[in-house]
Amino acid sequence: MDKTSLIVVGNGMAAGRVLEHLLEADRDAYAVTVFNAEPRVNYNRIMLSPVLSGEKTYEDILIHDDAWYAANGVTLVKGEAIVGIDRETKTVRTAGGAVHGYDKLLIATGSNPLIIPLPGKDLPGVVTYRDLDDVEKMMAAASQGGRAVVIGGGLLGLEAAAGLRAQGMEVTVLHLMPTLMERQLDPAAGYLLQKAIEDRGIEVLCKANTHAILGDTTVTGVKLDDGREIACSLVVMAVGIRPNMALAKDAGLAVNRGVLVDDGMRTSDPDIFAVGECVEHRGVCYGLVAPLYESAKVVAAGLTGSEGAYTGSVTATKLKVTGIDLFSAGDFADAKDRQEIVYRAPGVYKRLVLRDNVLIGAVLYGETADGSWFFDLIKSGSDISAMRDTLIFGPAFAGGEPLDPTAAVAALPDDAQICGCNGVCKGTIVSAIGAKGLSSLDDVRAVTKASASCGSCTPLVEKLIVATIGDKYQAAAVEPICKCTDLGHDEVRRMIVAKGLRSIPAVMQELSWKTSCGCAKCRPALNYYLVCEWPGEYEDDSQSRFINERVHANIQKDGTYSVVPRMWGGVTSPAELRAIADVAEKFNIPSVKVTGGQRIDLLGVRKEDLPAVWADLGKAGMISGAAYAKGLRTVKTCVGSEWCRFGTQDSTGLGIKIEKAMWGSWTPAKVKLGVSGCPRNCAEATCKDIGVVCVEAGYEIHFAGAAGLHVRQTEVLTLVPTEEEAMEIILALTQLYREQGRYLERIYKWAKRVGTPSIKAAIVDDPERRRVYADRFRFSQQFSQVDPWAERVKGLEAHEFAPMAEVGFKEAAE
């Protein structure tokens, strides 16, 4: 009697696993025929990367060889694709035209690599990364040397890059997002990963959008959107996969993003099963093997009449690049109902995400030994409240009695290293505390050097002090920037300089931020500190700026904006006024007001109109007045010696000179200046952040005034005889404030904190230091004196000003 026939379409990881389970359950249930488009037996696709890097051969990664098919009576048709399914007649058709009948059919066609429709995508030398043919093409290219460009900094892209590098190629990875593997890792782990990848000589360019692949007959390079060109002989596109479901769709099976299957892994046709990357189950398409291993069992059960149910998988990711330890699992997005536990040490980052005392996600970098333990906790959904405080330290601390973190530290052996930077171990600290009677963090730092460098072991040292002397511990009074860190503003800045930190994720990682991505309080502060420290080098993070600084206009209560063009020293001209009037009429701007800062405010401008308004103002020579900026705002002046009968110096002219030198600078908080021509002080210079009062003998320089929430009269800094000296002092003073001021701390508050004598010592008494500060200010101005309006008129950040889409209700209801 003829056996029932099972036809399997595709012979990848999923099909192979189903066959194993099926044969185990009932060797004789079916006459099995497998069609495989690839001209080979079943191999372990995920091990292609070690083959590429030369650590393994194809033979090493075979799962089922020819002998296996023979021994199990399975017919394998290699290199023959199925091109059609006829469900009426229950037959399949092969590419060669043969027709075969089936009783049961299994679709296991996997997925196809995505190909970005770029010019040049079909050139020889452009490959994807999916099967052995691709690996062979890459290895052939690598044997010629030269550079490879890998498009995509995800799992596959990085494995390809590491493999090609191991084969001796120069490699550049282009990644669209700001950090690598952003789907599996948060920015901190992505930052560490990038460092590790770069350490093996691979160039990584994030936020890099490929514009075109270059070459006439073969690949010669890649061009980016920003115009950069990278010469190369190989392009690997590893930008994602798409379920391969064309066959199922043509056969009229229900599909969405993948072939739809129920919990029994059946398609909409009860005689047809589907498994692997081609399916969509409960709204999810997977791209890893663990889910297909779990569902393959259910398929085999369904085929042998004992129904099972597949209910979905939690997945975990590892990167198979030797020497890089990375693990991520579950859902690690942060959200309101979740808490996170973050642990950072040099080169190590761990983050656990909890919801209702259940672990739901984990990201580990650098130390991943506990990954499977965390993964089990995620899958089992067990309540972790009993071990919550020590959870991040892994199973070693989880057994038996719940330990509090202090006890966990107390339990460390004496030779356990606490401070990695200075190599201080626990015993040293404990004995110093005892011998010298230390009771504060500062004392311990001074005596042992523990936590005196990068500070990331501070929490550990504090716990150690508590464990040693208990209540006598005097906690440091530093006010942290926000709840994301224990460090204060000054410590963070000191570390940015000392460790050469050049990005927000770098600061958060190296300084042990307690949250993964910071908050609305620390991100703008860090962004400012980096802008200030690395002029011309650091790329501003616009998403870490308040809306006004992001769109260079002031948001109003109805969501419209106000536009204040710069009016140098409060001086304007008929042409400027005419341009302002024209703009106001042309764009129906409802309100035109003279501000308290000697210039004109156009209020009620719609966001979409901003670039056009700026374009018109720009044609008349006007630039942004930065009325929104934590930066230089206005320099108010009076008429001075040019007109006024009491004027002693050209206060208007000096004000304009100062404004021209200082516009565009970013500062911890806003900076306003005033220059009055005589002590009658009509420009109100004595309530400004920095003021100049002109006198017969020269220029009296004032600072630390304010007239807002607090009214403060200025203090006199010094009197100088020439305009040049006045300028030099003002620029130096501003730079000192830029470097010492805490974010959002105005000059008067900064001066009160650090004390006027220290400011005088740096700026007045020591001409050498003054010059150094002024030079640093001028240097950084080279990069900041770019009119943000003009840039946006030319199209920068165009997405800010245009809606993403406009949809009508008709469309919406369709």
Binding site: K336, G518, I547, N548, H799, P803, A805, V807, A812
Partner: protein, 122 residues
């Protein structure tokens, strides 16, 4: 990536653009006859959509700073959850969550629950 919100909404889905069109930790506005929708992309790449009105005084949430799965309103700093639309911390109020479906990098919204024209005129 599959989106968690997808199961709570079932369309009709209206295509509004690409995920790449939204800056990471940023937002874009979609204008509809039922008022504006703010479409956000969190640091982890997930896309969310809310009616673009803060429950406090109607501030445009699209202009806020995005952190985690929340946005800080630009007008008076209320923090609104992108997942539930609820104000967090001591503040209370809720803005409408709009269903999002992301497929092959294309963002679709479920606009069927948007308030109708008249409400938008409030």
């Amino acid at each position: 990536m599959n989106q968690m919100l997808q199961t709570r909404f079932d369309g009709p889905w209206v295509k509004v653009g690409r995920v790449d069109d939204i800056p990471l930790q940023g937002s874009r506005v979609v204008k509809t006859h039922g008022g504006e929708v703010a479409v956000f992309k969190a640091a982890d790449g997930r896309v969310f959509a809310l009616r673009n009105r803060c429950p406090h005084k109607g501030g445009p949430l699209s202009e806020g700073i995005v952190h985690g799965h929340a946005v800080t309103c630009p007008l008076h700093n209320w923090v609104i959850s992108l997942e539930t639309g609820e104000a967090q911390g001591a503040d209370s109020g809720c803005t409408k969550v709009i269903g999002v479906l992301v497929e092959d990098g294309v963002v679709h919204l479920d606009l069927s629950r948007l308030p109708r024209l008249m409400e938008a005129a409030e």
